[in-house]
């Protein structure tokens, strides 16, 4: 039998994501310079042999900050997705069992959540709880929960209509048992694809909030804050505004392609034409 060809978007997305994850892991054991080390004598250096991507206005090594920034960005994204999935997936599964009430609950929750875009929720929360990565995770996680709930419910309803689920019910299995043994494994693919897409959205939103000074707090480096700082020195050191933005774009592109590729792999009916 001929092996099925992997979607090109999956391969490209996996390579780009592996690159960013690799950078984040590398920062745990090595960075060219300590990412938080201030060296005023070396401020706003152009890329060169000593500082491959130059330095910022405090003389901090840009490459080191980007490597540690990858770790911070991925950590916030992963935590926001995990929180969203932990809240949203059980709610979506339960809503599929509840019928009309479940439908109404998830629909109203989604309406309400979409009235507050994730950035707005984060701004509201940081206004009262203060800026910081934990509050960003909370805000993005709550937004993700509604999306997970809606997607999981839709997928679970389709599974509930299938023959083997009816057979399990006829054999006397309860709704909880059917949900855990039959429904959950069958919606896992959809949830994983959604998680990948929401991961990308979380990385974008974290960067935006850190740019505003509401996300990851200094001295811990973040790509968004690096861009915010670089904007002040746009006339003297324009390159410093290029690298962190590029890192965000590569990460989001990789995760989105990975999500598209996974969807194509798991549900070929959904296949997008071409690589992209």
């Amino acid at each position: 039998m001929r092996a099925r060809r992997l979607p090109a978007s999956l391969v490209l997305g996996a390579v780009l994501t592996a690159l960013v994850v690799g950078a984040a892991l590398l920062s745990l054991v090595w960075t060219p310079f300590p990412a938080e080390q201030i060296r005023v004598v070396a401020r706003l250096r152009l890329p060169g042999p000593e500082h491959w991507l130059g330095t910022d206005h405090f003389g901090r090594d840009a490459l080191s900050m980007i490597l540690v920034g990858a770790r911070n960005s991925l950590s916030v994204g992963a935590a926001a997705v995990a929180l969203g999935a932990a809240l949203g997936v059980p709610l979506g599964l339960a809503a599929a069992v509840w019928g009309r009430w479940g439908d109404e609950t998830v629909a109203r929750l989604a309406d309400l959540t979409f009235a507050f875009p994730a950035v707005l929720t984060a701004i509201l929360l940081t206004a009262v709880l203060g800026a910081g990565a934990a509050n960003v995770v909370l805000a993005l996680g709550l937004f993700n929960a509604a999306v997970f709930a809606r997607v999981t419910r839709g997928a679970a309803l389709a599974v509930w209509r299938r023959e083997f689920v009816r057979a399990a019910l006829a054999l006397g299995r309860g709704p909880l048992s059917v949900t855990l043994v039959h429904v959950l494994p069958n919606v896992a693919g959809v949830v994983i694809v959604q998680a990948t897409v929401l991961f990308a959205v979380a990385v974008l939103n974290e960067a935006a909030l850190s740019y505003l000074g509401l996300g990851i707090q200094p001295p811990s480096p973040s790509w968004g804050k690096m861009l915010g700082d670089a904007q002040t020195f746009l006339f003297t050191a324009p390159l410093q505004a290029i690298f962190p933005g590029g890192a965000i774009a590569v990460t989001v592109l990789g995760l989105n392609l990975l999500g598209d590729g996974l969807r194509d792999l798991l549900d070929p009916r959904h296949r997008s034409s071409g690589v992209l």
């Binding site: 875009p117 740019y211 992209l276």
Partner: protein, 315 residues
């Protein structure tokens, strides 16, 4: 149709009410005393007590909530502590910048995305399609605030065609004001256009597979005529729905992009209010933005139902 309209308006009212409840509840859980948070720990106890009274913190929570919602219904969003002015007036001033900005971004986004999506569908699987899909992926991946910085770098720092930020005001003339909003609108429009181009492409491909399109082609109508007269009107329904949903993201994006360009819009007012711990402004602006998003989505739903009642009848 009437039943749908009644149901949609009921949902709108319910969601708007829930939004007020959420904003109020979030500000209720402020750790410590909100008045102290706003005035700072070195504030005089009398000043804190006066602000507590002004904010109604000495009244029971349900009474305070009812007064706040009642005030909003009559256009009273409270008085800003920082500006010592009614929040409604501040919001009205800032909307003069944020609304045209969002509108410009929507027009740019639709103006770019719809032709691109149609082009991609018409050339499915060929170079044009690939280019549009690549634009779709890149446009979503590039953060709007980074794109905004790149636009400043290119058009303000290098070419000097635009100022790097600020707003001359509508008094300076429509031309200079629109010029100041152009780069921010382009930055806001990019991710929305990327999403919209993909949606248009998918919707157009679905329509292209319909029998009546095949009939139109068989009748000998030119490809362009079929695309514009038969495919586009039908593809516009999902496109309009997405355009409405994107309004929420435009508003959120405006908060960030207005700060990149130091535009004195609603987003910048909100951002500054956080720095100044002006919770009354934060509360008013956030709830207003949420209600605007809910309202726009409802209007889009109703407009779509008026154009094509089939999904509602089916529901």
């Amino acid at each position: 149709m009437l039943a749908f309209l009644a149901r949609r308006l009921l949902t709108l009212a319910l969601t708007a009410w829930l939004a007020t409840l959420v904003v109020f509840a979030v500000l209720e859980v402020v750790p410590g005393d909100p008045a102290l948070l706003m005035l700072g720990t070195s504030a005089q106890p009398e000043a804190v007590a006066a602000l507590r009274h002004q904010m109604g913190l000495d009244r029971p929570v349900p009474v305070r909530y009812a007064a706040w919602v009642g005030g909003m219904l009559t256009g009273d969003l409270g008085t800003s502590l920082t500006y010592a002015r009614p929040v409604a007036g501040l919001v009205a001033e800032r909307l003069e910048i944020t609304l045209p900005l969002a509108l410009m971004a929507m027009l740019l986004s639709a103006g770019l995305a719809i032709p691109l999506g149609l082009l991609a569908a018409a050339r499915q699987g060929r170079a044009g399609d690939w280019a549009v899909m690549a634009f779709g992926q890149l446009g979503i991946a590039v953060p709007s605030f980074w794109f905004a910085i790149l636009l400043i770098l290119g058009f303000s720092v290098q070419l000097g065609w635009f100022s790097a930020g600020g707003f001359p005001g509508w008094d300076a003339g429509v031309g200079p004001a629109l010029k100041a909003l152009l780069l921010p609108a382009v930055a806001l429009a990019l991710p929305e256009a990327a999403i919209l181009a993909r949606v248009t492409r998918t919707a157009a491909l679905d329509t292209l597979r319909e029998d009546y399109v095949r009939t139109a082609r068989a009748k000998g109508l030119r490809r362009r005529t079929v695309l514009l007269r038969h495919v586009l009107p039908n593809a516009l329904i999902p496109v309009t729905t997405i355009l409405g949903l994107q309004f929420a993201f435009l508003i959120a994006g405006a908060v960030v992009v207005e700060n990149v360009f130091t535009l004195p819009g609603l987003g910048r007012l909100l951002y500054q209010a956080i720095g100044q711990h002006d919770l009354i402004v934060v509360q008013g602006v956030v709830v207003l933005l949420a209600v605007m998003v809910v309202l726009v989505n409802a209007l889009v739903d109703i407009a779509c139902a008026a154009v094509d009642p089939r999904p509602q009848v089916a529901a």
